[in-house]
Every structure is written in C-alpha cells, then in structure tokens.
C-alpha cells in the first residue's frame, strides 16, 4: 500500500472581484498516492486548472487542508511554497512555456541553477535529461527553431531534470498533433513507471487512458472517479 503523496480535504478557492464571487474549488477532496498517475478531466471552468495551480504550490487555497507527504502546507507562505516547489515538483504546460532567449540546454538547466547545483553536475544532468528525451542533438537551438513536439520534449526534460517526485501536466498534448502527442504521453508513462507521481489535467479521453485513475470534476468538486488499472 503506497502512502498518500497528496491529500486534500474540503479545499476551497474563491475568486472575488467587486461584483462577482466565483467558487473555483468547492470543498474539494482528493488523494494521490506516491507513484500514481492521475488524470483530471472536466469541462472548462470546472476548476481543473485552479486545482493544478494549488497542487503545484503556485496558488494558495482559501480554506481546507492540503497535506503534502503528510505535512499540512495550506498555510505555507510564498517563500516556503517556492522552496518546496523547486525541490519536488516539475511542470509541463500545454504551451510549453520555454524561455525564447535561452537555448534548449539553458532552458533545461534553469531549475538546477535555481536549486544551486554546481555547474559540472548541471551539465551532466541536463545532458542526461536531453538524452532521455532524445533531443540532445538540438541542445544549442532556440525554442523557436524547434517543432511543437520537440519543444514539449524540452519542456518535459526541464520538468524532470531536478528529479521531482511529482509532475504536474496541464494539457501536455493540447498543442501537439497526435503522433507528437503520443510520444509525449509515452514519455510521461515512462517517467511514471520509473516512480514519478503524475497529475495531468486533460480534455483528451485518449490521453486520460494512460493514467491509473481518472478524476472527473464539475463546479469545483469531484463528481466521479474511475480506476483504469492498478498501480503496480
């Protein structure tokens, strides 16, 4: 029996403007076990992205509990969240979000720089990650010079270079054609097989099938959960 990496209970997130109050997460409950691959689905505006932001420690909830590896972090301040984030979480975005002014190598190197890894070790680890994503030959190119699939492989390399325990993927194949999309899903599955926990938000039923479990959301709450296959 794996431990819960993530356990959220009664999590609330409310966006307020002067006129409107939008409840993005409405006392949401969810658990993710270590090594699990979870797909989160639901219509636009159901709170998927908000959930992912909170899981990614980019945003804080208004209420409820968020246990990360058993520790309550709902009350963490920005610095604490940033610290935890850079050590344990990798991100993959729909629009890749590579920095245009940096080369492939430098983009992947970035997380290592910010965690203070020595230059010699950085080189080794970046090259290993690029190798694994089969993008090594493009190491000195700039993002605009790559195809979408290549860019997303760079983004995945960047997400994993720090060997995070958790990868959060926000529609990772949304901007890719199906063959590139499948490649990226295969990469994610490989990572998961190697032990990395993955939470992926997706609109694609096809992609969701790579996961162990699908959580379907509506109006800021979990409505159904379906287990596709058992976690090994």
């Amino acid at each position: 029996m794996q431990n819960n990496m993530i356990k959220i209970s009664n999590l609330e997130k409310i966006y307020r403007t002067e006129e409107v109050e939008t409840i993005a997460l409405n006392k949401m409950n969810m658990e993710v076990k270590e090594g699990e691959f979870v797909a989160v689905m639901g219509p636009s505006g159901c709170g998927k992205s908000t959930l992912l932001n909170i899981l990614g420690l980019l945003d804080d909830p208004n209420g409820g509990s968020f246990l990360f590896n058993g520790e309550e972090i709902a009350h963490y301040n920005e610095r604490q969240r940033a610290n935890l984030r850079k050590r344990t979480i990798g991100f993959v975005f729909q629009s890749f979000n590579l920095i245009d002014e940096l080369t492939v190598f430098e983009n992947v190197e970035l997380p290592l720089i910010y965690t203070g890894v020595k230059a010699s070790e950085r080189k080794e680890r970046v090259e290993a990650a690029l190798d694994k994503m089969q993008i090594m030959h493009r190491r000195n190119h700039y993002p605009q010079q790559l195809s979408g699939g290549q860019q997303q492989r760079v983004a995945v390399a960047r997400a994993v270079v720090n060997q995070p325990k958790l990868i959060l993927a926000d529609e990772p194949t949304g901007n890719l054609d199906s063959s590139n999309g499948n490649e990226v899903m295969a990469l994610l599955t490989d990572l998961n097989d190697a032990g990395t926990t993955i939470v992926m938000v997706t609109h694609s039923e096809h992609d969701a099938k790579y996961a162990h479990r699908i959580i379907r959301m509506l109006d800021g709450q979990t409505v159904t959960e379906s287990i596709l296959r058992e976690q090994l």
């Binding site: 932001n53 990614g56 980019l58 945003d59 920005e78 610095r79 940033a82 610290n83 984030r85 850079k86 050590r87 991100f91 975005f93 979000n97 590579l98 920095i99 245009d100 002014e101 940096l102 430098e106 190197e109 970035l110 997380p111 720089i113 910010y114 965690t115 203070g116 230059a119 960047r158 720090n162």
Partner: protein, 793 residues
C-alpha cells in the same frame, strides 16, 4: 550562477536592440553630462582643502556700518599681527598685501614682462600654507628684504630654461634675488600668485615714505585696511571668540573710536564660494549645477525605468517560467539588477569615451581647467557615485515590479503592468518634461536678461573706448602725449584717469564731509581722479553745472553723481555748495546723471570725480568702429616713445564690461547645453515609449481602422496620451520657474521682467518637441494595413 545571470542579461540586451540602444544612449549621454557637471562641482568644493590643517585656518574680514547698512571687505589693518601675539589659541598669523599687474625684468633688462600678480607676505607664509617648494630653504626663504620667491612658470617666463635660483629680477626699480621656486599654485587654490616678496620690504618702504600720518610702521598703522590676513587657530578654538578678541584689541588701540566696526573670521574652506560679506552666490551656483547634474541623471534613469516597466508585460512569461521552475524572488531580483548593471557597464564605457572627447570643449565653455583621468581616484569617486546612484534609481523599481508578477496570471497573459505601474510611468514622464520645461524657461530668461544687461544704457557710452596703462616716464609728459594723440586721425578724444576699469570701480572712501553731515552717516563714496576730458570722453551727462576747466582751480572742485547728492541730503541748487574731500575743502561744480560704474548686479551708489596735478596713469581713448585699428596703432607708437621695452597692451571697455558677466554668460551657455541634453534624453525615452505604445496597440489600431478611423484619428489617439502628460508638466513647471527665475533676477539691480510669452514659448517648444518625437511612430502605426495587423494577433 552569476555567469548565467550575465548571460541572460546579455541575451536580453541583444535580443531587443531597439530598446537597448535607446536605453544605452540615454544613459550614456546622461552619465557623461552628469559626471562632467559633478567633476566641476567636486572641483569647486575642493578649493583650498589641499592645504594642511585648513580646518584651523581662517581669513579675516572687516565689517563697518555705512548709514543703515554695513559693508564688509577682506582687508584688515596691519597691527592685527601684533595683537595675535597676546591672544592665546592663535597659532600663527600671516599678512598678505596684494599687488596686481606688476612689471618684471631680468637683470640686464633683456626681458621685460608685465601682468604678474604678486604679493608681499609675512615670512611665515610658507609654514602656514604648505604650497610645494621646489627649490630654496623653506625655513628661511627671505634671508633679506631684497629677495623673491617665484613660481615655476614665472621663473620660466623670465629666465627661460635657466636655473632662476640666485638670479636677480627688477621691479619698480628695485633688485630682488630669487631665493625660492614654488610649484605653480594649484588650480583649486583661491590664492593665485606669480611671485611672493617679503612683507619686510613693503614695511621698510612704508616707513621710508612717511607712513600713514602719525603711524610710522605697518605694525602701528591703524588706518589702512590693506592686508589680506590669515590666522591659524589651535584646535578647539572658537573663531567667533577670537575675532571678538581682535576687535577688542583694535578698539583699545584706537581708544574706542571704531564706530561699530568689527572683524570676522571665515574658514579657509569657505573662502572660495562664500565672499567675505557673506554673499554665497558662488556656492548657490555650485549647488544649482549639482542639482542639474542629479536631475540629468534622474531623467536618464527615468527613461530606463519607463521603458523596462512598460516592456515588463512582454517579459512576464519569462519571469513566470523562471518562478515556476524554482527561482525565488531574490534570485530574480538579482537577475534584473544584473541586467541593468550590464546595460550600465556599456553605457558608462560610452560615457567615458564621450567625456574624454568633450572635456576640452567643456573646459572652454565652463572656463575651468578640469582633467579627466581614470588614474585619478577623485574622478572615480564621481563616476562611482553617479553610476551607483543612477543604477539604484533605475534598477530597483523595474526589478521589484518584474519579480512581483503572479506567475499563474502572467503566463496566461492576464498581466497588465497594473494601473499602479502605468500611473507611475505617467508621473515619471511628467517629471521628466517638467524638468525639461524648467530648463527651457531658465535658458530663455537667462538669455533675455543677458541681452537686457548688454543693451541697457549705462549712463556713459562704452563703445569704441579703449584704455592703456601709461608707463611712468610718459606721465611726466602727459600733456605732450595727449596733444600728440589728439592730433591723430581716428582718435576722437583722449582722457586720463586713475581707474583702470570704469565698468567696475572699486575705490571708495568715507573721507567726505559736508554741511549737515549726520554724525553716524558712514556714507561711503566711490571716487575717481580724472583729467578734464574724462567726463566728455565717456559721454557722461551733466544734470547741473559743468566740467573741470583744466586750471589749477580744479583741485578745489568736485563733481558728484545724483545718488551722492541725494544720499548726502543736499538741496538744489547743488552748484557752489561746499564739501571737504580727503581733507581738501572745495565746492561742487557739477552733478552728473547716475551712471553704472559697477556690475548691473549692484545698484548705483554715491560717486565723486576729483582732479589734481596727477590725473591718473590710465589713458582713455575714444575712437570709431572703422578707425579702431589705426587708433590703437597710433597709441602704440606714442607709448613706445616712453616705455622702452615695456610691452604695450590695451583693453576695450565693452570687453571689460562683458567680462563682468562672464560667469553669468557661462552659466547661460551651460544652461542652454544642459537643457538641450535633458530634452534630448527625455525625447529618447518618449520615442521609445511611443514606439512601444504603437506596437502594443497594433490590434486596436487595426480594429479602429476597419471600423472607419482615419490616419489623423489614429495619430491623434496615440499622440494625445503623451501630449496630455507634457501639458501637465508645463502646468507644473511654470509656477516653479516663476518663483526661481524671479529669485535669480533679484541678483541684478537692473532686471528684465519675466513676461508671459517666455512661458508660452517654452510651452510651445515642449509641445512641438513632443509632437515631433511621437508622431513618426504614430504615423507609422496609423498607416499600417489593418489586415496585416489583425492577422498577426
């Protein structure tokens, strides 16, 4: 990690060449001018501070009541040196007696040179002031009274490359042996002499010439306020108390008869910028230029802040990604500061190049002799202060703004730079343009006032009159000289006087008596001893009576100006009223219309013309524009008859007049220059902002055009935003300038009015500059094909 920061910075600078060039050129020009100005300021503040223990050295001045005011001047009586011995806390005292325009020759008269500034100094001068002695025995520089210490360049002028030590120079018919060579006085020394003679020589002459009335030695002479005097106090001594002690000693020596006059002490460090009478206009000038330097740097910094914060929206994605992959605020902040720093490094290198190129021109304009050497620590002091100050002003805010983005929103393009930042940028633009408008108005007002001064009627005609100092030999034949010259073509009239510069007459006295003079009058009257031709030659107008007659009776006749008879309280008719001047009883034979014998900064004060057998050694020659050359040549020939080898020189009065306003004129030119630079830098920033706005509004412009907006509509839309800011800037600048320019004009007794059109003109200039800067970008944006711009979205 730093390597990465630098690399990222470099990539960002090169990736956005347009904005980088605007930023770098604005900063480089701002830094170059700011640094040059601050070097000047630094130089002004450094005066006399190279003198050892300057903190303990003070200069004397004397204040005397004159009517209901007081007058202060830097000369004090000689016996103060005697009193010093009995006042504890005085370490030493040095008297200096200035002697301008001296004529030197070497022993065999093969070389005769004039125009040396010399002084008689007490022998302990060299122990109080550590000017560098190159040759000679510092302990005993004046072994006898016929000795002299020359500066290096004076020695070189007289003796060429030869060793001057032990050589003899002749001046005023006396021989002096050179016993020391001083390094030239540093540029930032308020004392500037070419040669120093022993005070003992002067003292001996004073006594030999009969002294001053009953006072036979300079140590006894309580009457003459002649000596520039410095004292060195022991640490902790209070200069006010010490000055009082000297006043008390002097009062005692004069049996209490000093009529409320007293002595003051001013620290050596203040002497250069604050004159003895407390006039600190020099200091204020330096402060104004320091302010201008800071403002210029600020304007350049504002460009950087505005452009980088405006463009921060574009960088929001980069910042977000960096945050998400683990950058914390400190790291991002450092990255942006380093980016600013790299940009600054490029700017400072260009700025240093500009300074090296422009320094000679700058020295010429500012009348300074500044050296820009990177080996000089004091130069680095200025560079570092300017760079660090500007770096902080321009780097902090953009870095804070950029690091504050919330990555989730920034990534989705939901970041606007925030109302706060946009508003802040507007304030900065307004600030920049307010400064520019202030500088434009200052330039106009200063220029206008200078023209006013140049064109103001002075009460005499200064055009085409030149002066020549006659050699002693010629004075014995003065009438022959005048007759000879009168006969020359091109010379309209010839006169003599003992004043060498009618535009700035310094000689005044209180030695005037008249019937009904109040006991406490204290009236001071400026005087000139003149020949009978002087008043007609200078075309000074009489309002009553007439001129001297050229007969011996003139010795008992006086001519006053209007202010004098008013201040004396005389009732018309003035002619024939008795007055006593310098113990000589006589009568008033004429009253002249007031004329300006001082800089127009000063009001007209009482004036008296008198004459005696000695009608002065300065020749005043009136000629015409076309005959000036011939007249000079005639005077030179006449001069040579008497002067032997003494070199001939002449001064035109209108040049001397202009020299009185040299510093104002220089300030005017500098203001022109700095105003232009400030405006240029502001425009660079505005141009960058306009370009950015046009880029950002591409889609909006496209939509508007599709909906039927004309090119003019679009240009107006883009320009209006900026124009509004500039108009607000004008509204802020006008009252501020009204206040400051009126204050500046108060320096002048004669001043132009600041008319409304100056402000209007400045406003129009600012608006035109804005339109010119912004419209090119607005036109480009407005003329773009909307199909293109909409497709790019």
């Amino acid at each position: 990690m730093f390597k990465n920061y630098f690399r990222a910075a470099w990539r960002n600078i090169t990736a956005n060449k347009f904005y980088s060039i605007i930023n770098i050129s604005g900063l480089a020009i701002g830094l170059a001018t700011g640094i040059m100005l601050l070097l000047w300021v630094q130089n002004e503040f450094s005066y006399d501070k190279f003198i050892k223990d300057y903190q303990h050295i003070y200069e004397f001045s004397a204040t005397m009541p004159t009517g209901n005011k007081t007058a202060t001047w830097p000369g004090v009586p000689g016996p103060l040196a005697v009193y010093a011995r009995s006042i504890p806390q005085v370490k030493s005292i040095v008297r200096i007696n200035n002697n301008y325009g001296q004529l030197f020759s070497n022993a065999d008269h093969s070389k005769i040179l004039r125009g040396f500034n010399t002084a008689f100094v007490d022998s302990n001068f060299f122990s109080m002031f550590n000017y560098t002695l190159l040759e000679g025995n510092k302990k005993d520089l004046f072994p006898n009274i016929n000795t002299v210490v020359l500066t290096q360049s004076t020695a070189k002028k007289i003796f060429g490359g030869e060793n001057a030590m032990g050589e003899v120079i002749i001046t005023d018919g006396n021989n002096f042996t050179v016993t020391g060579i001083l390094q030239d006085f540093p540029q930032n020394s308020s004392m500037q002499y070419d040669a120093l003679f022993p005070m003992a020589f002067y003292a001996k002459q004073f006594t030999a010439n009969g002294g001053n009335g009953s006072w036979k030695t300079i140590d006894e002479d309580l009457g003459d306020y002649y000596y520039t005097t410095f004292i060195r106090l022991l640490p902790g001594a209070n200069p006010i108390t010490i000055a009082k002690a000297f006043t008390a000693a002097y009062k005692k020596a004069r049996n209490g008869d000093i009529g409320g006059s007293y002595f003051n002490l001013e620290n050596l460090a203040d002497v250069h910028l604050i004159s003895a009478d407390g006039n600190n206009s020099g200091l204020r000038m330096v402060q104004i230029f320091m302010l201008v330097a800071i403002l210029l740097l600020l304007i350049a910094a504002i460009n950087y802040v505005n452009l980088s914060t405006a463009r921060s929206m574009i960088r929001a994605k980069e910042v977000s990604v960096r945050k998400i992959v683990g950058a914390d605020k400190k790291q991002l902040f450092l990255q942006f500061i380093i980016e600013t720093f790299v940009l600054f490094c490029i700017a400072i290198i260009i700025a240093i190049g500009l300074i090296v190129l422009l320094m000679p021109l700058y020295n010429q304009i500012s009348g300074k002799d500044l050296h820009f050497s990177l080996a000089n620590a004091r130069v680095w002091e200025v560079i570092l202060i300017s760079v660090i100050g500007t770096l902080l002003a321009s780097g902090l805010y953009p870095a804070l703004l950029l690091t504050s983005f919330d990555p989730i929103y920034a990534l989705k393009g939901k970041v606007s730079s925030g109302i706060g930042a946009g508003f802040f940028r507007k304030i900065l633009v307004v600030f920049q343009f307010a400064i520019s408008v202030i500088l434009i108005i200052s330039t106009l007002v200063i220029g206008y006032q200078m023209r006013f001064v140049q064109q103001k009627s002075l009460g005499y005609n200064k055009s085409y009159v030149f002066t020549v100092q006659l050699p002693n030999e010629a004075l014995n034949h003065i009438n022959a000289v005048k007759n000879d010259l009168d006969a020359q073509p091109g010379i309209l009239s010839v006169a003599t006087s003992d004043i060498d510069d009618i535009t700035n007459i310094e000689n005044f006295t209180g030695d005037l008596d008249w019937q009904g003079k109040p006991a406490n009058s204290g009236l001071l009257i400026t005087r000139a001893c003149v020949g009978k031709n002087f008043i007609p030659t200078m075309k000074i107008q009489f309002i009553e009576g007439g001129n001297f007659s050229g007969t011996p009776a003139d010795s008992f006749h006086y001519i006053l100006n209007e202010t004098a008879v008013q201040k004396m309280g005389l009732k018309p008719p003035y002619i024939g009223q008795p007055i006593t001047f310098h113990d000589q009883k006589g009568t008033i034979i004429g009253v002249v219309k007031d004329f300006n014998f001082k800089s127009l900064k000063n009001p007209i004060t009482p004036f008296i013309f008198f004459t005696d057998w000695y009608q002065g050694n300065i020749l005043y020659i009136r000629t015409t524009a076309k005959d000036a050359r011939q007249a000079i040549s005639s005077v030179r020939n006449e001069y040579k008859k008497y002067a032997g080898d003494i070199p001939f020189s002449y001064n035109f009065i209108d040049k001397q007049f202009a020299a009185n306003y040299k510093s104002d004129q220089q300030a005017g030119v500098l203001f022109n220059l700095f105003a232009a630079i400030a405006i240029f830098i502001s425009c660079l920033g505005l141009f960058g902002m306009a370009t950015f706005t046009a880029q950002r509004k591409t889609k909006e412009i496209g939509v508007r055009k599709v909906l039927g907006a004309s090119v003019i509509n679009i240009i107006r839309m883009i320009s209006m935003d900026f124009l509004k800011l500039v108009i607000i800037a004008i509204i802020i600048a006008v009252p501020v300038e009204w206040f400051f320019m009126n204050k500046w004009l108060q320096n002048f007794a004669y001043k132009t009015n600041i008319s409304w059109w100056i402000f209007a003109l400045a406003g129009i200039i600012a608006v035109l500059i804005t339109i010119g800067t912004v419209s090119s970008q607005a036109i480009r944006a407005a003329r773009a094909n909307p199909v293109e711009s909409l497709r790019t979205e």
